[in-house]
């Protein structure tokens, strides 16, 4: 058993699942309260998990193992990386429920059930220790998202979910084939074992590419990113929050759990592919974000640019890069979620996401303007906010790997400032275009209750990131030990020439 004495991970999966079923048979109001209660219980369990996580303990903790049929097993367990991503999920969930409290009036029980089911599956992805269990959770997690976009989405929801479907189908089929081959080759479905299994180098490339097809779409990386802006635009606010906050992180989680430790040589060989696509993504999507007229599209494109920092960091083959990539995942989860909530707040009032329809909100919505400013600044990576720590570490790591990558990716900080401040200016500053906008009411108590925890977490992660880095430190260490043999090294290669050092000014010291 584990340090808590009860199967806490199974319980965290069971609570939202049971609540989801109960929701289907309840009235709208009961379903809301039920969903909120279930997500809060999971949040409490998550906190319990974090408190009891033993930094000095074994790599895999809170493990559960029940053999099912054949090679299938109900195997759960987490390391520090999974713990942090679970925390992100259980933290965002109650916020999503609260954000949907009034915005969703149609088929509320089904909506709440979909969200709770998604929570189960998300936690499942991060806890699964069996390859096929992971696959089920990973792919099934998309079904509630299809439903959320397809039923509660906007006008072009069919097109958006169709695009989502096409992209992810391609990736998951290839990944499944690769998984089957791996299981036959290694003779086990146990993920921790597979993470230390040395696949033949020639096979690694194909396996890597098969997984890459799936993770790159989830991430999303350029050029398979075009489903994301459409999905975000059509999804209801809470759907966008989960999509940006957690679902996008599954791609990064996949890279760190599968691609890097299982195929280190292939990862090193194909590093240029990852770096190349990420560099394009930073510049390309930032420029595209600059010209967007729809708020959600703008933030969606900015997400693609931010996710490129994750891939750049993870494939830098050093500690700063990997820890930075993980911190960007956590920070972006909070900040992009918060930005979508900010859009949601004004969308609920004026029912449009068109930037030009807003203006001067600082006048009548000062509290809103303050939170929006904080999250905008966090998004541009201002030091003191969550995203800075991640982006900084990730770029430090990238510089060690290649000065070109660091150089191109760092231009993202200029472009990021440009498109986010341009957005903020058009929404919060200037004059209100009409009396309706000028009289929009400020944040309600419920909205404040949503914004405050997010704001505090963003600052916490920015000022004292040690709380989040500490649990992941050892796991990153074991990953590094695993991939070090393939590390291609950087391009800096400091060398002392034969000519004598130029004499400095006299009396310099």
């Amino acid at each position: 058993m584990n340090q808590l004495g009860f199967p806490v991970l199974s319980l965290m999966l069971a609570v939202p699942f049971a609540a989801a079923i109960a929701c289907l048979f309840s009235s709208a109001q009961t379903a809301r309260w039920l969903a909120l209660a279930a997500t809060l219980v999971d949040l409490l369990l998550g906190i319990l998990l974090w408190i009891n996580y033993d930094l000095a303990g074994p790599q895999w903790q809170f493990t559960e193992h029940v053999d099912l049929f054949g090679r299938f097993a109900w195997a759960l367990g987490i390391d520090g990386i999974a713990l942090m991503l679970i925390m992100l999920s259980v933290f965002l969930m109650p916020i999503c429920i609260a954000a949907s409290w009034e915005a969703i009036q149609k088929r509320v029980p089904e909506y709440m059930a979909a969200f709770l089911l998604m929570e189960t599956l998300m936690i499942g992805v991060f806890t699964a220790q069996d390859l096929f269990l992971f696959y089920i959770m990973f792919e099934a997690g998309l079904i509630p998202m299809y439903l959320i976009i397809g039923i509660w989405g906007g006008a072009r929801r069919i097109y958006a979910s169709y695009k989502f479907f096409l992209y992810t189908l391609l990736g998951s089929v290839l990944m499944l084939v690769a998984m089957l081959w791996m299981v036959r080759e290694a003779g086990t479905t146990d993920i921790p074992t597979l993470m230390n299994y040395d696949f033949p180098v020639h096979a690694q490339t194909w396996l890597f590419l098969a997984f890459f097809a799936s993770f790159a779409v989830k991430m999303p990386m350029w050029p398979v990113h075009t489903w994301l802006p459409d999905a975000h635009v059509e999804a209801p606010t809470a759907g966008s929050v989960i999509l940006a906050g957690v679902l996008l992180k599954m791609g990064g989680y996949g890279f760190i759990r599968f691609s890097l430790p299982m195929f280190p040589e292939a990862s090193a060989q194909l590093m240029w592919l990852v770096f190349g696509l990420s560099m394009v993504a930073v510049v390309y999507t930032s420029l595209v974000a600059l010209v967007q007229e729809d708020m959600k599209k703008l933030i969606a494109y900015s997400s693609v640019a931010h996710m490129a920092f994750v891939t750049i960091g993870l494939f830098a083959f050093n500690r700063q890069g990997i820890e930075g990539g993980l911190m960007v995942m956590l920070g972006h989860g909070l900040v992009s979620g918060a930005l979508f909530l900010c859009v949601g707040v004004i969308y609920d009032r004026l029912h449009t996401r068109e930037i030009a329809r807003y203006g001067g909100l600082s006048n009548n919505m000062p509290k809103y303007a303050l939170f929006f400013l904080l999250f905008t600044m966090a998004s541009v990576g201002l030091p003191g906010t969550s995203n800075f720590v991640g982006e900084f570490l990730s770029l430090v790591g990238a510089y060690h790997a290649s000065s070109w990558v660091a150089f191109v990716a760092t231009t993202g900080v200029i472009l990021g400032a440009a498109y986010m401040l341009y957005l903020y200016r058009r929404v919060a500053y200037g004059e209100a275009p009409n009396a309706e906008v000028a009289s929009l009411p400020d944040l309600s108590a419920r909205e404040l209750a949503i914004m405050v925890p997010l704001a505090l977490s963003v600052l916490w992660m920015g000022v004292y990131p040690e709380s989040f880095l500490a649990p992941m430190r050892r796991d990153v260490g074991s990953l590094l030990a695993r991939i070090e043999r393939a590390n291609p090294g950087g391009d800096a290669k400091i060398a002392f020439g034969h000519r004598p050092a130029p004499a400095a000014h006299e009396g310099a010291h």
């Binding site: 299981v183 050029p223 500690r319 820890e323 004292y464 000014h505």
Partner: protein, 700 residues
């Protein structure tokens, strides 16, 4: 104690900012101003301790920040002589500006917000100057950038203020791009970001080469230049200077605090803080000298033709920063810091004085509509005169001089003494001293002397009309109150309209007072002016031995900068003509200004019509804005639109999902099923796959 100095302003900013309208104006003003005066009172003893030599440098740890492998970054407050100088500059000017704003912002609707931003700025600036590692310095660096952004755009209903705010942030980000790469590089090379550790290890790396973007370059040159790009952005050096003049859109106290005395000098501070690093690269120091001298010249030339009082002072600031940089470039870091120190006092004084004039003239900023204000606002006049005497460097060798006399002459002499590229900087510096004298006296003459030319000003007409309409004849407060309704005056204050060559000259505008009576500012504004006047008069005389004294300087700096005693000795031994040259050009500049703006007021117009092209070139600020707009802004949007429409929609979607859809629809029956129940189909496909997998897994 240092914790109190740094964190009190933050606490005050939080109280005033979150309390905002619910705690009211007075409470917010009391909390923030009180915190700053306490911080100021605590800072001076530290500075005096370093002056008397009774204090040693120390580092006060605060909290762990980032730990990642070898990268260890802590929040910590470092206090040494260099920090102590910045502490008194920042807290003193900030406290005075807080007090000044009581009067200047008295009628504004969102005073708590204003004071919260000011205190937030002070906190970030203090974090910057007390940083013990490059990452915390970057935190302060970006923090002051945020505060600057918020304060430039303080009147957010003005489109021009918003544009200026974004410009300031984004241009600074270009600098930060270099700064970040510099930090990454420093960590790569030295394996640490702790400033003392880097400075200690730097000489060992001199002469090594490093790969960068496919080339092999000198390691230290690369690092220094990358870091210097950051300094160029923050200190508005040539190329990255375009944001500073536009930043005048912010309220005048902000211009005094941020865009004159403190934030813009952060780049100079950084170069001085890292001076042992820069000393390892001759190339980098050469670039610093060159950029400094070029900025110095550029800004001064533009400053001579501006009509907006704040813009003149803004270009003057830009130019003075150039002096500081070329001082650092020739190795005279003590002189650079000395000029930073004295400049903080006299430039803040000039800005606050200009604010007092603007306040008296009902928010008119165009000097062509001033004139003859000497008798109406005498205290402001004398304060501004003291500031002008200080910036133009008036003084008699070995007797007494105003602040700038000591610091600017030290820079010029050091440049001459250093030889080589320093001689060129010296010549540029002397010429710029002439321009400085000209534009500074031009400002004074246009504003305070000659005939009143107020009648042509729309602001004044408005004020007069308003006062009559309401039966108040001497309604200074009333007039101001009216003007605070910014909705009625969208251009209540700002950097004025963009200059146009066909604008009326001084001679063409309507003369007369239009019945307007300017009034002296309230005591809250005059007290800061008085204190800063003392600084502008005495700061040079008192502190010269500590900052640049050949024998005493080393004991004061105690290694916190690379203090070059040989250079300081050589500086005091330059030929007499070098020492006298600044005074000579200063008098020449004064004479030209007197001739053109008092004796023969038609002269400037004749001059500009003769040299049309030159005048337009200067008036349009060497066309930097136009160039950048055409080269960066327009293409960024055009490429963005192209990539979106042609890239995402025209290529990826067309041949990706949409293409696949078209292909499949051609297929017919299967597709219709797919499209009718895609979710379930997908679930089915997945389940089938899983079933297959399960069967296969069990069988094998």
């Amino acid at each position: 104690m240092i914790k109190l100095i740094v964190f009190l302003p933050l606490l005050a900013a939080i109280v005033a900012g979150l309390g905002n309208r619910s705690i009211g104006n007075t409470a917010a003003k009391l909390v923030t101003t009180g915190a700053l005066f306490v911080a100021c009172a605590l800072s001076w003893p530290i500075f005096v301790g370093f002056l008397t030599g009774s204090r040693e440098a120390f580092v006060e740890p605060v909290l762990t920040f980032i730990r990642s492998g070898d990268l260890n970054v802590d929040w910590a407050l470092r206090v040494d002589a260099l920090t102590a100088v910045m502490l008194v500059v920042v807290t003193t000017v900030s406290a005075l500006v807080h007090l000044y704003s009581w009067g200047y912002m008295a009628e504004d609707d969102s005073q708590p917000r204003f004071f919260a931003y000011l205190s937030l700025f002070t906190f970030a600036m203090l974090m910057l100057v007390t940083s013990d590692n490059l990452v915390q310095m970057f935190f302060g660096w970006e923090g002051v950038g945020l505060a600057s952004y918020l304060l430039i755009g303080f009147w957010y209903y003005k489109p021009s203020a918003n544009a200026a705010a974004i410009k300031a942030f984004v241009v600074n980000r270009v600098g930060d791009f270099g700064f970040s790469l510099g930090i990454f590089g420093v960590f790569l090379v030295f394996g640490t970001v702790s400033i003392p550790a880097i400075l200690a290890a730097a000489p060992g790396m001199a002469g090594s080469t490093i790969g960068f973007l496919g080339h092999r370059v000198d390691t230290m040159t690369l690092l220094c230049l990358l870091l210097f790009i950051g300094a160029m952005g923050k200190s508005a050096q040539l190329g990255l200077h375009t944001w500073l003049p536009d930043a005048m859109e912010g309220p005048t106290p902000v211009s005094a605090l941020i865009h004159a005395a403190t934030m813009v000098t952060a780049g100079v501070f950084m170069v001085c803080r890292l001076s042992p690093l820069f000393e390892t690269s001759h190339v980098a120091l050469g670039v610093v000298t060159f950029i400094g001298a070029a900025t110095c010249l550029f800004a001064a030339t533009v400053g001579t033709v501006q009509n907006d009082i704040k813009r003149v002072i803004a270009y003057s600031t830009c130019s003075q920063l150039g002096y500081m940089f070329f001082a650092a470039g020739v190795g005279a870091y003590g002189a650079a810091m000395f000029h930073l120190f004295t400049h903080a006092f006299f430039k803040a004084l000039l800005f606050l004085g200009a604010g007092s004039v603007i306040h008296a003239m009902h928010h008119e900023q165009d000097m062509r509509y001033y004139g003859a204000l000497r008798k109406h606002i005498p205290i402001t006049f004398w304060a501004m005169t003291a500031g002008t005497l200080a910036i133009t460097g008036v003084g008699i060798i070995d007797v007494f001089g105003f602040a700038g006399f000591y610091s600017k002459d030290a820079i010029l002499e050091a440049a001459y003494a250093s030889g080589g590229g320093g001689r060129i900087a010296f010549i540029v510096g002397i010429f710029v001293a002439l321009l400085t004298s000209f534009y500074s006296w031009r400002l004074v003459f246009l504003t305070f002397f000659g005939k009143a030319r107020w009648a042509g000003s729309e602001h004044i007409q408005h004020a007069v009309h308003d006062a009559h309409g309401h039966g108040h004849d001497h309604g200074h407060d009333h007039a101001h109150a009216h003007d605070a309704h910014h909705d009625a005056h969208p251009d209540a204050e700002g950097a004025g309209s963009e200059p146009h060559a066909h604008d009326p000259g001084v001679e063409q505008v309507k003369h007369g007072t239009a019945g307007y009576h300017p009034h002296e500012s309230p005591w809250t504004m005059l007290v800061p002016l008085g204190v800063l006047t003392l600084g502008a008069i005495f700061a040079g005389y008192i502190f010269s031995p500590y900052f640049v004294g050949a024998e005493t300087g080393g004991a004061f700096w105690k290694g916190s900068i690379a203090f070059n005693e040989h250079l300081m000795h050589a500086m005091h031994g330059v030929p007499l003509w070098v020492k006298l040259a600044p005074a000579a050009v200063m008098l020449t500049g004064l004479a030209i200004a007197w001739w053109g703006y008092i004796a023969d007021t038609g002269m400037p117009a004749r001059f500009t019509s003769t040299f049309q092209l030159l005048y337009k070139f200067l008036l349009n600020k060497w066309y930097f804005d136009e160039l950048y707009h055409a080269v960066f802004v327009v293409p960024a949007f055009a490429i963005g639109r192209f990539l979106w429409k042609r890239g995402d929609q025209g290529t990826i979607d067309r041949f990706g999902p949409d293409g696949a859809a078209a292909l499949v629809s051609a297929g017919g029956v299967l597709t219709r099923k797919l499209q009718s129940g895609y979710v379930y189909t997908y679930a089915l496909v997945m389940l089938l796959g899983l079933a297959g997998a399960a069967t296969w897994a069990m069988a094998s």
